[in-house]
């Protein structure tokens, strides 16, 4: 176990060193992030013109959802995108061999190898928005609600990771799955808005088929103290299921790996 922590530390410190070379990138990411946030808050505000509500969410509580989305987007940019989009290249160029030969779990190595520090400001900003907007909407935090919030964020992240990893793992067969992750990203953008704002059929899809609801809406409900316990329980089940399936699928995919260019 300690071995794994040490590996992460080594991976991320080298990542940090190599990213220092591209300081301008950091600035660009920061600008892009601020622009995205500004734009999506603006679009969100259009739903509230004339004192409306968005699927029985008030303006402040809808901002909590934006905050959760920003937080998860930051995690995605920091951890998921740099690592999981690389899997395709490993498969295409045959360099996956080197990963498989290492005396460590291959899914672990592939998932944590890189860390993009440009995602950190987004993570911090996302959390700040969550707490600021929650206070604005008149929530009083308790130890319990914070605990539930952290658990539900964790559930959301595990589901996000598993779905993304599943798609990346399918590159063993299809090689070019870059576009499939684009489809996923497009669908995940639905998480910017509360799930109750969607038509019934999409609510169903975004809760059970592609659980976008667990990524943003439920964590937001958690910090606002409105999350029902059975949903949390269901989320724990669902995320474990997704994660176990992603591992199972990876093992299965590796059996079909034939290497390339050798």
């Amino acid at each position: 176990m300690q071995r794994y922590f040490k590996t992460i530390r080594l991976f991320w410190s080298t990542a940090f060193a190599s990213q220092l070379e591209y300081q301008l990138n950091f600035l660009i990411e920061l600008l892009a992030m601020l622009g995205t946030l500004l734009g999506s808050v603006f679009i969100l505000s259009l739903f509230f013109t004339g004192g409306r509500q968005l699927g029985d969410w008030t303006w402040e509580s809808a901002l909590v959802i934006q905050g959760v989305y920003t937080f998860l987007d930051g995690l995605t940019n920091a951890l998921l995108r740099p690592n999981l989009t690389e899997i395709v290249n490993y498969v295409r160029e045959g360099t996956l061999d080197y990963v498989l030969l290492k005396p460590m779990d291959s899914q672990f190595l592939l998932s944590v190898k890189k860390f993009s520090f440009a995602g950190l400001p987004e993570i911090i900003l996302g959390l700040s928005i969550v707490f600021w907007a929650a206070i604005q909407s008149g929530t009083s935090f308790s130890l319990y609600s914070l605990f539930v919030f952290i658990i539900s964020l964790f559930i959301g992240f595990v589901i996000l990771y598993s779905v993304w990893f599943l798609i990346a793992a399918s590159s063993i067969w299809f090689v070019k799955t870059w576009n499939a992750t684009e489809v996923l990203r497009a669908l995940l953008a639905a998480g910017r808005y509360p799930i109750s704002a969607y038509p019934v059929i999409l609510r169903f899809i975004f809760t059970l088929v592609l659980p976008v609801a667990f990524l943003t809406t439920f964590p937001a409900e958690a910090i606002l103290g409105e999350l029902k316990f059975n949903i949390l329980f269901f989320g724990l089940m669902l995320s474990s299921l997704f994660f176990i399936f992603s591992r199972f699928f990876w093992k299965f995919a590796l059996k079909h790996y034939t290497s390339a260019s050798s």
Binding site: A32, V183, A186, A197
Partner: protein, 265 residues
């Protein structure tokens, strides 16, 4: 007959080889077509929450607008900076630069060929949309279709030039695709992909109209969906942006090529 200094034969060869190449990636292109679902997600939100009438669109108008926005996006999507960065970093650009053909034209051909490959998928998605929302069905008149086709092509040209401008920075920095984000973010919010621009407060709308972005989605989509739109001023603005961008790309490209050091070769 020569177009852009290219003989008909060269154009034909470029397009047919790129088309053959793209046909090999049908599944990827189908997936990519699917990744344009964002307008549909936004449509479901706007119509579910009855916000449309605050900016003068009923459900049918909203449905038509967003389907049009989806279609316009399908045929104006540009990824030249990503291919160019890859070619530049892997040294593949060197032989391209030696050929008596501007490398950017090769990418133009690739994009046009990809659009042709994408056509059946886009039609399939449009038909699915009509099956799910039968009341929104409409067929644009022939002149409407022609104008929409023309303005979509112009939108594609603007988007392509904008990204070529970013791509030219590949000669200076290794990671110019990161710069593309700075174009993509305003594009996302100001092009009309998420909401028809008529929903904007007038101050924001004025600001948006000073950028090229509304002419990339909003203007062609309005023509296609049959919304009232000032056609002549829209086309004028599109042509204006193209004539501003072409010399800029040209200059930056010429400066860049001088710096080219053939990476990876």
């Amino acid at each position: 007959m020569r177009i852009f200094g290219l003989s008909f034969n060269v154009i034909k060869t470029l397009l047919t080889t790129q088309y053959a190449y793209m046909l090999e990636y049908r599944i990827e292109i189908a997936l990519w077509a699917l990744s344009g679902v964002l307008p549909f997600i936004m449509f479901s939100l706007w119509s579910q929450n009855d916000v449309g009438n605050t900016f003068g669109l009923n459900d049918i108008g909203l449905a038509r607008y967003f389907l049009s926005a989806f279609l316009v996006r399908q045929f104006s999507v540009v990824w030249v900076v990503f291919s160019f960065e890859e070619d530049s970093l892997s040294g593949r650009l060197s032989p391209y630069l030696l050929q008596p053909l501007h490398p950017l034209l090769r990418y133009v051909a690739a994009h046009l060929a990809e659009q042709a490959t994408r056509l059946p998928f886009a039609i399939a998605i449009a038909i699915t949309f009509f099956i799910l929302n039968p009341s929104s069905f409409w067929l644009p008149s022939l002149p409407q279709l022609f104008l929409a086709y023309l303005s979509t092509h112009l939108a594609f040209s603007i988007a392509f030039l904008l990204q070529s401008l970013v791509a030219a920075f590949c000669f200076w920095t290794e990671k110019s695709s990161a710069l593309e984000r700075l174009i993509f973010v305003p594009y996302l919010f100001l092009s009309g992909l998420l909401v028809p621009l008529s929903a904007f407060p007038s101050s924001v709308l004025k600001l948006a109209m000073c950028t090229p972005f509304p002419y990339l989605i909003n203007f062609p989509a309005k023509i296609l969906s049959g919304m009232p739109v000032n056609i002549s001023s829209g086309f004028l603005a599109q042509i204006l942006w193209i004539s501003i961008l072409i010399p800029l790309v040209n200059i930056l490209w010429k400066l860049g090529v001088k710096r080219y050091t053939a990476m990876g070769a």
